[in-house]
Amino acid sequence: MTLTQEATAGRAETRARPGRRRSQRLAALAFLLPALAYIVVFFGYPLVGNLVMSTQNYTVRSFYTGQAPFVGLDNYAAVFRNPVFGTAVTNTILFTAGSIFFQFTIGLALAVFFNGRFLGSATLRSLLLLPWLLPLVVSGAVWRWMFDQDHGIINAALRALHLASGPTPWLTSTSWALPAVILTNIWIGVPFNLVILHGGLRAIPDVLYEAAELDGANAWQRFQHVTWPLLRPVTGIVLMLGLVYTIKVFDVIMVVTGGGPADATQTLTTLSYGLSFHDFAFGQGAAVGNILIVLATCFGLVYLRSARASLSEVAS
């Protein structure tokens, strides 16, 4: 009797355990559901929609009727044949690499500078945030005005300092326009790098610097052996976010040059916009958008590999 009782109790217990586990799993799923639904509705659906659109001959008419004939990979072929496509890819890479390199170096230099406590350092640091707070269209319009070949303040300054013999054709020459928009984007991106890197610097304990100093390390050695390795996790995040922000930049280029002169500053984003809203080839515009997604994902994977490598390095 007691034996059977025990046996039944034991069986009941073993039966209850998987039940509890199942309900736990259900609860976990329920917690996951809002996030999942959000991703499916706001990322999954447009992404799939864009993929579908890129295989259709999607015209202005399609917007109203909802009908667009399937054309396979014709849109991609047309995009690759487009003479501007090569320029746009090169420009996207130059723009992204140039912007991130200088944003990061200048941001890091400023962060290290403002890490030292001196009179007004906090005020100055918050003032440096201003470019980040301005609407991009405003900063773009101001830079366009400053770059003006005849009356722009930049050329006036260069003239006054005797740094340039003639006016620099910032936005009117096909070779100067890209550096000009990169310069604008660097100015916009420095504060972001400054803020995050400054936060990272604050997290490094002062004792390490004191110890290094006692060991006779000079300023450069302290940076090289204390600051840089300990800042690495923050560096990774800054570079990744910077990449994602930069590769999709559209408004800055649109306001400063409009993709001109003569397509010299076309990137994948402006090309996608132009194909969709100037040529009304929405399928081709979508195709360029997809190529951009692939490009961004590639960069993301490269970053993940390097992040994993550095993580295992830290772990070992």
């Binding site: 992404l47 864009n50 005849d150 132009g274 009304f280 994902t297 993940l304």
Partner: protein, 419 residues
């Protein structure tokens, strides 16, 4: 460790996708076909309608609101107005067309009308008893798609040469009438960092629109943009810049910037539209004159492009369509036409109203003369115009930057437009 890493990867991928999702927003509007609502044809007009326009500038928005207020009073239809920047007009209309939430009355740039009508979202104006009698043929052509008129404008505009009387008198230059005179005047007036002429050659419709008077006046045709006449016109315009008569910055100047250059005295002459006159009048120290855009030979008639916004009524159901029809009829009536033209420096789109307007406003006469010979940008090409225009704008930029000679640039444009 490994779960943390996986989570991180998931997060980064999602960020990447989320950011690029902004680009693919067009895909988000899922079009679902829906038959046009058709209530009884004897339905009473609705009490209020929605309206969309791009008169977002300070002076234009006030003037347009007055016109709408007048028509609310006359028709008893309340108008809910929405004003957006020009560049957002077409995306907004396409969005509305796909979600069936188009406003009930739309005022859009005339070269986009055929494009929108081709979707089937618009109703012919003959449904509302709006007649096309007395309008300039150019504006009727711009509003016509497959033999039906879908849009009409209360006022039109065009480009002319606006000059600073004081600067021209000081240099002893007469307002130019021919291409040679224009070039000579521009070069002579350029000195000390100031330029003789200013115009817009930005890489958009605005750049093409500014080039068309030279292109058409020389006998070129949009169906073949690499013709000899076209090459000659582009060569002439890029020479204006390379000879120093105009700043290379024309590549970046919108027509508003061009007007800024003129007002500040940095340019003695400009190619610009009539809508700027109200602003020029505010500058008391500025004395300006207006002549038609110079032509290749003396005595020629300039062929400028016809500008201005046309009103159109999208499919929205009988009651609202009827109300919108009443409002549009009121906006197109002669007194409103005159008020609007006066307030925004447009030219009335009816021939005899324009003549009357010219008598009252002599400074507008040069513009009125030009409208008689002005051409609609979509008259020959229809829906294909936007693509040709984009290709032409790039060719203009290539030639002015010196990246390609005019003939090569235009040959490439013809290829791009033809594909």
């Amino acid at each position: 460790m490994s779960t943390a890493r996986r989570n991180r990867r998931a997060r980064t991928t999602v960020t990447g996708i989320g950011v690029t999702a902004a680009l693919v927003f067009a895909a988000a509007c899922s079009p679902s076909p829906q038959a046009p609502a058709s209530g009884g044809s004897d339905a009473a007009p609705a009490a209020s309608i929605t309206e969309l326009d791009y008169y977002a500038d300070e002076q234009g928005t006030v003037a347009w609101q007055k016109i709408l207020d007048t028509c609310t009073q006359q028709t008893g239809v309340k108008i809910e107005r929405q004003s957006i920047p020009t560049a957002q007009m077409l995306p907004k209309i396409l969005q509305g067309a796909s979600s069936k939430t188009l406003p009930q009355l739309v005022f859009t740039d005339n070269p986009t009308l055929q494009q929108i009508a081709s979707t089937g979202a618009l109703t012919p104006l003959s449904d509302y008893g709006i007649s096309t009698d007395g309008y300039y043929p150019g504006i009727i052509k711009a509003g016509t798609y497959q033999d039906k008129v879908y849009g009409l404008a209360p006022g039109v505009n065009g480009l002319a040469l606006i000059y600073n009387k004081d600067l021209l008198a000081a240099a002893g230059v007469e307002p130019p009438k021919t291409w040679d005179e224009l070039k000579a005047a521009a070069t002579k007036l350029s000195k000390d960092g100031k330029y003789g002429l200013s115009f817009s050659a930005i890489p958009s419709e605005e750049g093409t629109w500014q080039f068309l008077p030279f292109f058409w006046s020389n006998g070129a045709d949009l169906s073949k943009v690499d013709s000899a006449q076209s090459v000659q016109a582009l060569r002439y315009v890029s020479d204006l810049v390379s000879s120093g008569g105009a700043s290379k910055s024309v590549l970046n100047w919108s027509q508003n910037d061009v007007a800024d250059q003129f007002v500040s005295g940095n340019a003695a002459m400009m190619i610009n539209g009539s809508w700027n006159l109200a602003r020029l009048d505010e500058e008391k120290s500025l004395h300006y004159g207006v002549v038609p855009v110079p032509t290749p030979q003396a005595g020629g008639k300039p062929a400028v492009a016809l500008g201005g916004e046309v009103g159109a009524i999208p499919v929205s159901g009988d009651a609202t369509q009827k109300a919108a029809g009443k409002v549009l009829s009121c906006i197109l009536s002669e007194p409103t036409m005159l008020d609007w033209s006066k307030a925004h420096a447009y030219i009335p789109s009816k021939v005899d109203v324009a003549a009357k307007f010219g008598q009252q406003n002599p400074e507008m006469q040069a513009f009125i003369d030009e409208v008689a010979t002005a051409k609609s940008r979509t008259a020959d090409l229809g829906e294909k115009y936007p693509k040709v225009s984009a290709a032409l704008a790039t060719a203009i930029q290539s030639a002015i930057t010196g990246q390609k000679p005019a003939d090569q640039a235009l040959r490439q444009a013809q290829q791009a437009a033809g594909s």
